[in-house]
Symmetry: C2
Subunit: 414 residues, 2 copies
């Protein structure tokens, strides 16, 4: 029997966290991605929002009807509980739900009804994950954190002056995954010892830890020459992008001697590369040397690409060990069999929006991806949650809705 | 008592995965980051490499003595077991270690001695995580996956022709975290039900799932106009970078009406912005409208920044709610109190390299970050692992080393 789980549901292959219940008071990317990932792994995740939605409920991109595609894809598989965040009666209900679930994940700041000490006084084995912008509690988002983290100065064309931001909110994504990992680990610990955990996770520290893990901090502190801007090259190995005759572009990476040998043979440059190698006193079996002399190598390889169409290039590369990929747009990717024929993507009928390929978890479990479930609308599950988890009667639910403390949706009426 | 744990060690606050043992047969970023993160959470992680190291053992950046700073920062806190991967006797030892641990994480491909079916036949509750490049087993690395994922075409200056790669291997980082989450979830499940899991995790699917989760796939499949290249702006809200008079640059994000109001007041442009708003028939309380008219707003705000030094700008911004950050280089970050005074970073004496700030986990547990431990050298723990986990005698260990089947290090001799 699950000693700390909230329900009788047992974990299974594609639902390893079945039985775990999480209350999520969140907005934007990191905390919602955490909750969505836990839901995909079988947890019962209740996202609690103000009536009408939090600040992310209508974030772009929107459909023609004003529904947020952003929100729908970051909140799949959750239940939605909507309450008036200014109403002390709502605070009490939310507190009761957190105590009942035993796990809360939030990026909301400064709300007394989410305070760890107050909640843990009632439920000592609480698992409480607080996502912050910065460790000192000041605000930050992915795009400001990235500016502090050093990457914009080394991203983009070599001859560019000025920073290049990531469009991908990579820190939000990593933060959401660190948060989910924190919950899974803390739940495992509680299962064995019965203890809860207070976890604090600043987005900025996610970025700084990664900068450290990739060696940039040590490199600087040891007084070594740092890594500068190298365009689309890959530091320390051979990587380059090439244009085909019809404008198609390819990213090529030769990480190993075998990749590199295949590349010189494919492009008919084996003799020329050997001659250059000898003349420079270099050894291109060493990836550092390939990196050092990449400009020369780029020049030797480019003509082969430039005199063939993208289709010809791709077909030829596919027959080799060379790591390669054709640059694609999001639209091309969305139509590609690697999405439409990919078992990780499932055709989802998302209410209020339409049907499209929605992502399960990138990992499969015993060969199967967890079933993808739609995102809820604001307040879809308020009534059910109140009845099932807090034992309220239908009349009590109606009274709360009439008072404006919560929002329930008509579909929930018996 | 831990029913499925490998040791008697009980989980604790900063070691929620204590008692869990993981064998890691890995190289590069994703799988090593997975193992390192699990080790940071208290798991006993044994990284198994060829004698002399795998392909990443000497990856740049290197110290003047040829030690890899890259490897040291991606393999903190692990134990190192070194064996001859061509020797069937080594395969048997590795298999025995995996069976003993009950968990293996690998990005190695095509090695029979890592095959799930063979291992699970011996230990049916095995947790086996296979990281791949692509789901079909073909090779891919972060830089090629990113080309397929659409981001290079929308990253970088608006007037640029051609793709802009990420320097940050964001997909490797996310993959490593999804892998760690998979292990933690599977261990939780096994603790309750006794069942193991076979997990497959393609790097490409990590990227494609994220592209889906951020709404790009749905947007394209629903026939909506996609998101194009917008330089350092932030789609759907107000974000921009500005230069101060001394060349310092700042990233500014006004996500909420409050942020935006603070921004117009700070820059003395409240009246001008209101006049523009009225003339355009816009409503800048709506972040989508701020995004739409960002060029005008950028032009109104820029002079305030351009007539002040970076220090003046920073001091003024700090007194507001505006989300902001000064762009820094890695070197500036490494010297900044947000690293040197950050409890997440700990001064680590890394053998063979030196002393520097090394990152613990970005999350703290009950106010504490797990203690950071150095990365091992190739084969540092081979002897201990053989004796402690497989019950070999010292003579048997010596014989294996003499035969070249394993590498042991002199420090291990009693």
């Amino acid at each position: 029997m699950n000693s700390t789980a909230s329900t009788d549901e047992l974990p299974s292959s594609t639902a390893p966290l079945a039985g775990v219940r999480v209350v999520e008071v969140s907005s934007f990317v990191a905390a919602p991605l955490c909750g969505m990932t836990l839901a995909a792994l079988g947890a019962d995740v209740i996202r609690i929002d103000p009536i009408g939605g939090a600040a992310d409920y209508k974030r772009w991109p929107l459909t023609g009807d004003g529904e947020s595609i952003y929100w729908a894809n970051l909140n799949k598989g959750k239940r939605s509980f909507a309450a008036d965040f200014r109403d002390p009666n709502a605070h009490k209900l939310i507190r009761d739900l957190i105590i009942d679930a035993g796990i809360v994940v939030t990026n909301a700041a400064g709300r007394a009804w989410l305070d760890y000490d107050e909640l843990a006084a009632i439920r000592p084995d609480l698992i409480h994950v607080q996502v912050l912008g910065r460790a000192d509690g000041t605000g930050a988002v992915d795009y400001t954190v990235n500016a502090a983290a050093g990457f914009p100065q080394v991203t983009g064309p070599e001859n560019l002056d000025g920073p290049v931001n990531h469009v991908l909110p990579a820190w939000d994504v990593a933060c959401g995954l660190y948060a989910a990992l924190s919950v899974a680990s803390a739940v495992y610990r509680r299962e064995i010892t019965g203890a809860g955990t207070k976890i604090v996770l600043p987005l900025e520290d996610v970025a700084f830890a990664t900068v450290g893990n990739l060696g940039y901090i040590a490199e600087a502190q040891l007084g070594l020459t740092g890594r500068g801007r190298v365009g689309n090259a890959v530091y320390g190995t051979y990587g380059a992008d090439f244009a085909a005759s019809d404008g198609a572009r390819f990213m090529i990476v030769a990480l190993t001697p075998r990749h590199f040998r295949d590349l010189t043979e494919l492009t008919g440059t084996t003799a020329a590369v050997a001659a250059v190698e000898a003349a420079l006193g270099a050894d291109f079996r060493d990836e550092g040397e390939r990196y050092k002399h990449r400009a020369v190598l780029n020049g030797l390889f480019a003509p082969w690409f430039g005199t063939r169409t993208g289709a010809e290039v791709e077909a030829a590369l596919d027959g080799t060990s060379i790591l390669h990929e054709r640059y694609r747009s999001f639209a091309e990717l969305a139509a590609d069999p690697r999405v439409t024929g990919n078992p990780m993507f499932q055709e989802l009928e998302q209410p209020r929006i339409g049907t499209y390929s929605a992502a399960s978890t990138p990992m499969s479990f015993d060969g199967v991806h967890p079933a993808v479930r739609p995102a809820p609308a604001n307040g879809d599950d308020t009534a059910d949650v109140l009845v099932e988890h807090l034992g309220l009667t239908d009349d009590e639910v109606d009274a709360l809705a009439a008072a404006g403390t919560v929002r329930i949706n008509e579909k929930d009426r018996a």
